[in-house]
């Protein structure tokens, strides 16, 4: 079952050069594409290959290689198969062209990625803030953003009230294991 | 009482002399006509004062009445006779230069002469002759404006008049065959036994259609809208005002003296109602002022015929009231129409441009509709009272129709008043004479309203005198003066 879809897909993709095809199993096929060949591939998949549904665009941050990896997941209802097209774009300008004219849902995925990673998609309908309307800091999902450090600058921590514990225990409540003996709080263990 | 003949003869004489006089001096030609009219009016007034309202007869040429031509002038006839020259004077068409002017004056004189003759004459054939003379004169006057539409309207008018005269002549022939005489008094004596049969009724029908043409009776009045719209406004005023009343006077004489049968009255009522309803409804849809006034005049004359069909002196009084009211109001309205020609919507703002004219129009509209203090209301009230007295099926439907039609009339008249007073810039053709005539008409109307008791008594007297046929017969047959 996996082979004939893979072969059929291989013939199909043959028409676009620069595409490596690694079919994992019947329902998941992975394609690695050059960035400039992606739109042609998507049109091919949508037109001929009955991959009508763009289920998501996800973005992976590779700070070491200085690249963003954009994955376009397209699904076909007839073939019951998901094709993930992976492309790599350089981190610095962080710009890529929008596939909005091929798949309409791309607008929201691109807007979300722009907000979270700072990748700018030319031609996308809107690039404003999507979820983090109150946030004016750097794109938070980038690896170089240190959330904990930002938290320490903007929030202060709760005062430690051990007496609450005594108060609760005095009334018979309270918890069985004291905080420092709790197994999974690694942070407390390696500090003390 | 030979002076009675002069008002008829003088205008005819001057009409023919005018042509040569015109060569002598233009001024003479222009002023001869009005001068003669003044003289005739003076004479008639003098006669009226002399007789003091008592009927008087004049046998032309000394021949005894059944053979010769006799003039019978009771108060009503005299009133109509005076009205002809006076209104002709007031509505004298604007003086044209040279030949056309002379011809127009001549025709006017001809019209006045034959009109006076019709009012006074007591002999049916004589009436027919004067009626034909009148018709011919109106042909010439109506087409005086020279526009293409005027000619078309006049041709139609000629056709219908011709048809009417033919029918009238047939009626007179029938009548002569039955009774052997054409003198109204003698006819009145012979009518009960000779004319009671259907043949008599047929004669009446023919006469009705014949003389009905000029009186805008229903079947033969479709020439009216085009003619009044295209002819000169003074001429239309004259035709609609005086001339139609003369034709109605003749029919009045016939119904009172000769054909006093219920079938005749019923015929009059039906045709009158038809005229009333079609006239007013057509006026409701009319698009320009002269045509609207023409339809309205058909409607009013329809009402007049309905009034005419009412028996007894009270019915006659109602008819006379409506007739006189129409005689007063219609010419004035037509003169106003001279200032405001063109379609109704273009009249917006006329109220601001000439407030007096608009005020007069509103006054006349109120009187036509029959708003209480004005004479129009009392005339309509009399008609309605008589209709109610009859209480037959015909009378009640007539009552309902007259009332319903008044509502339609109120709507289109006051729609126009509303347009007059709506904002808009408007320049009307400035003609002081038209305003003067309309103002005179308004003044007479208000005067009649203020002196209502006196006017109503005079009217009642007039009606009773016209209604007693016995006096008519004895006076004319008894022995001429």
């Amino acid at each position: 079952m996996t082979t004939d879809i893979g072969q059929w897909l291989g013939h199909l993709i043959g028409q676009v050069e620069g595409v490596q095809h690694r079919g994992r199993h019947a329902r998941r096929q992975r394609l690695d594409v050059a960035p400039d060949a992606l739109p042609a591939l998507l049109e091919l998949l949508q037109g001929k290959g009955s991959f009508v549904h763009l289920s998501a665009i996800s973005c992976v941050d590779w700070p070491e290689d200085g690249q963003f990896e954009l994955v376009y997941h397209v699904w076909s209802y007839e073939l019951k198969t998901l094709v993930s097209a992976h492309i790599r774009i350089p981190r610095e300008p962080g710009r890529y062209l929008s596939v909005y004219d091929i798949y309409k849902p791309a607008a929201f995925f691109e807007r979300d990625i722009h907000e979270m990673y700072g990748v700018f998609f030319e031609g996308s309908p809107s690039m404003e803030k999507f979820i983090l309307t109150e946030w004016d800091g750097p794109p938070p999902m980038r690896k170089e953003f240190d959330s904990e450090n930002w938290v320490n600058d903007h929030f202060d921590w709760q005062d430690y009230h051990p007496d609450w514990l005594n108060d609760i225990e005095s009334r018979g409540g309270g918890i069985a294991i004291r905080p420092d003996e709790q197994r999974f709080s690694r942070k407390a263990k390696h500090e003390s | 009482m030979n002076a009675l003949v002069l008002p008829v003869v003088l205008p005819l004489l001057t009409a023919f002399l005018l042509q040569p006089a015109g060569r002598l001096s233009a001024a003479l030609a222009r002023w001869a006509g009005p001068a003669v009219l003044l003289v005739c009016a003076g004479l008639l007034v003098q006669i009226a004062l002399l007789t003091g309202g008592e009927p008087v007869t004049a046998a032309i040429g000394g021949f005894a009445p059944p053979v010769g031509i006799v003039f019978y002038a009771d108060a009503l006839a005299l009133l109509m006779a005076i009205a002809v020259p006076v209104s002709a004077l007031l509505l004298w068409p604007r003086a044209e230069a040279g030949e056309a002017g002379v011809r127009q004056s001549a025709l006017m004189l001809l019209l006045v002469g034959s009109g006076t003759g019709m009012a006074l004459s007591g002999d049916l054939f004589n009436l027919y002759v004067f009626y034909e003379l009148l018709t011919v004169a109106s042909f010439g006057l109506a087409s005086a404006t020279g526009t293409g539409r005027a000619y078309v309207a006049t041709v139609r008018y000629v056709l219908v008049s011709g048809f009417g005269s033919l029918i009238a002549l047939a009626g007179i022939a029938l009548l002569y065959a039955q009774t052997g005489s054409l003198n109204l008094a003698q006819l009145a004596d012979l009518a009960p036994e000779r004319l009671a049969n259907p043949l008599g009724l047929a004669a009446f029908a023919c006469l009705l259609i014949g003389f009905g043409v000029k009186a805008e009776l229903f079947p033969v009045n479709n020439w009216v809208p085009d003619l009044y719209a295209c002819a000169g406004k003074p001429i239309s005023a004259l035709l609609a005002g005086v001339v139609s009343k003369l034709a109605v006077l003749v029919l009045l004489r016939l119904t009172v003296l000769v054909f006093d049968s219920p079938e005749a009255r019923e015929m009059l009522m039906v045709l009158g109602l038809a005229g009333l309803v079609t006239g007013e409804l057509a006026a409701w849809r009319a698009r320009d002022l002269p045509r609207l006034l023409a339809y309205s005049s058909i409607g009013q004359l329809g009402l007049l015929f309905v009034a005419l069909s009412l028996p007894g002196p009270a019915g006659l009084a109602a008819a006379l009231a409506v007739a006189l009211h129409h005689l007063l109001v219609k010419p004035a309205l037509f003169m106003l129409a001279e200032r405001w020609h063109g379609s109704l919507d273009k009249l917006a703002g006329a109220g601001r441009a000439s407030p007096l004219a608009a005020g007069l129009f509103t006054l006349f509209a109120l009187s036509l509709v029959g708003v209480p203090p004005l004479p129009g209301f009392w005339a309509k009230l009399l008609v309605l009272l008589e209709l109610a007295r009859g209480a037959g099926p015909f009378d009640l439907t007539a009552l309902a129709l007259v009332l319903a039609v008044t509502v339609v009339e109120a709507h289109y008249l006051f729609r126009l008043v509303g347009i007059l007073y709506s904002p808009g810039e408007f320049r009307d053709r400035h003609s002081p004479r038209a305003l003067a005539v309309a103002g005179l008409g308004g003044a007479v109307l208000v005067a009649a309203m203020l002196t209502l008791p006196a006017v109503s008594d005079a009217l009642a007297g007039l009606a009773s005198q016209a209604a007693d046929t016995a006096a008519y017969r004895t006076l004319t047959l008894g022995g001429g003066l």
Binding site: - | N222, A282, V371, F377, L381, L385, L403, V407, S422
Partner: protein, 615 residues
Amino acid sequence: MTPLDTLYLASAATLAAMLVLGDWRRAGVLATLMYGVQLALLFTMQRTGSTSFDLSALGFELSWRFDALSWFFAVVTLGTAFFASWYGAGEWLRAYTGRRRLFQSALAANVFAMLLLLGSGDLLTLFVGWEATSWAGFLLMALAGGLARDAALRYLVYAMAGAMALLGALVVLFQAGGSFSYEAARATLAAMAPGPLWALIILFGLGFGAKLALLPLHLWQAAAYSETPAPGSVFLGGVVGRMGLFALALVLVGLIGIPHLQALAVPFTFLTAQDVVAWVAALTVVLPTYTALKQNDARYLLAWHGIGQGGYMLLGLIVGSALGSAGGLLHVINYAATQATLLMVVFGVRHRVGHTDLNRLGGLVARMPLSFLALLLGIISLAGLPPMSGFVSKWMVYSSLIQDGRPFLFLAAIVGTLGTILSVYKLIHNLFLGQLRAEHEQLNEAPLSMLIPMLATATLAFVTGVAPGLVLGWVADAQAAIGLPVIDYTLGGIASPRASLDMLWVVGVMFAGFGVGALLFYGAGGKTHRVHQLDNYAGGHFLDAGMRYHYSDNFYAGLMHLIGGWYRGSFHWLEGAIGSGLSLVAQGAGGWYRAINPAFYLLAASVALIAWVAL
């Protein structure tokens, strides 16, 4: 010079003064004073009196005399005229752009015409007065031009149709009775056979119903009364419609008499003439009120209510019992004061804001508090709730309906009142409550010259509500004048065993209750802190001035889901059908005159004639 002569003279003098001095800056004040003089004259003269002069024309004589009924309606007319012209004398006149002389004289002409109508001694004078009132009303309505002119023209058609029906009835009555006097008419009507009597009732009903705007003939009133300039609309809304009621009372109750109406049965049905008139009145109460509910302009809403309340008066009158007819007549005064107050407030808002579109107003209570107070008193009286006078007269009508055992009429009246309550709340909410718009932030209260008459009529309505006995005296005399059973009343209201009402106690207890409520609220509770209209619950949303956080459009959406479909506008359809039918016939008539070749129909005409003769 009898007192009535002086009254007519004063009224004519007012008209003359307005014709001459109409454009004068102080003309409004002069007119108000003169109406005041007329009112004083009216109060000084006793109820009955006749004029010394009478006109005679064509053998009929026109005579004028006052009886208690006409005196009662004259008081309402002159009172409304006084307040209306006072309202239009101050700043309103300064801001009036139309022709002042024409307006002032139109108003004076209306008052004079109505006094003539009210004083008519016989049927012909009644008709003359009726026509004078119609035409004066037409002049007043057509003043404002444009939309007002079309509405006035539509009114004219209805009024003329009514007048002609009336003229037909008078003429038939004259022939049957021999003279126009009331006594002769009463005799002939008593002895008349059912057939012609039905015809007369229908004709009189059409005639007077056109002005009272009974159901089939009510389409003209809303637009005509709303588009008239402010004082004119106040006067028209307040009292002109009641002339129809006066005439109906005079003819149906005075001349024909309620027992005769009850005896006159509709063939093949168990209904009597009284039922028919009662049901026309009941439907006139319900349908216009629910049309008012859908109006989006305050003036039109109130005008539609004018029609509805007219139905109440006729319903009360035609029920014929002492309580019911007293309620109907009392409602004339109550409603005149109420409608005058409401219209003055609405035109006050229009004077300040420029329009009265209910969907573009709101929150004006902060800027026009006194107008709000007047409107509040007005709507309580219009809805017929206790402290105000509207309640007393409606209560009387309800109690008489209960005592007479007419459940469906009672139900119709109450459903009408509920509809009124719904639409008056929509009026006060959309005008004065809710969010104040940014552009109305700097609005001023209505000018003083408009405020004082507004509050005066509101207080009048309140006083006659608390102590109805003051005006019930007049009502009792009016009942006696047209032969109705007279009501026995106390200062507080009615004290009969079957249904008693003592407004002094009821209102006293209500205000005591309000006092205790205020004590509880201000005493027991803590200090209140006033907050801005944007400090409001909006589901956690931050409100700002730019956002329109206000509900006024399609106010009773829930109710409209159900009864929205029932508004078919069948009367508009009926009117349209008659209009188009008439124009079709007119088309035919016009065609007759446009036929080019006369030969054809001449032949037809002569053949027809000959055939006719041969028959």
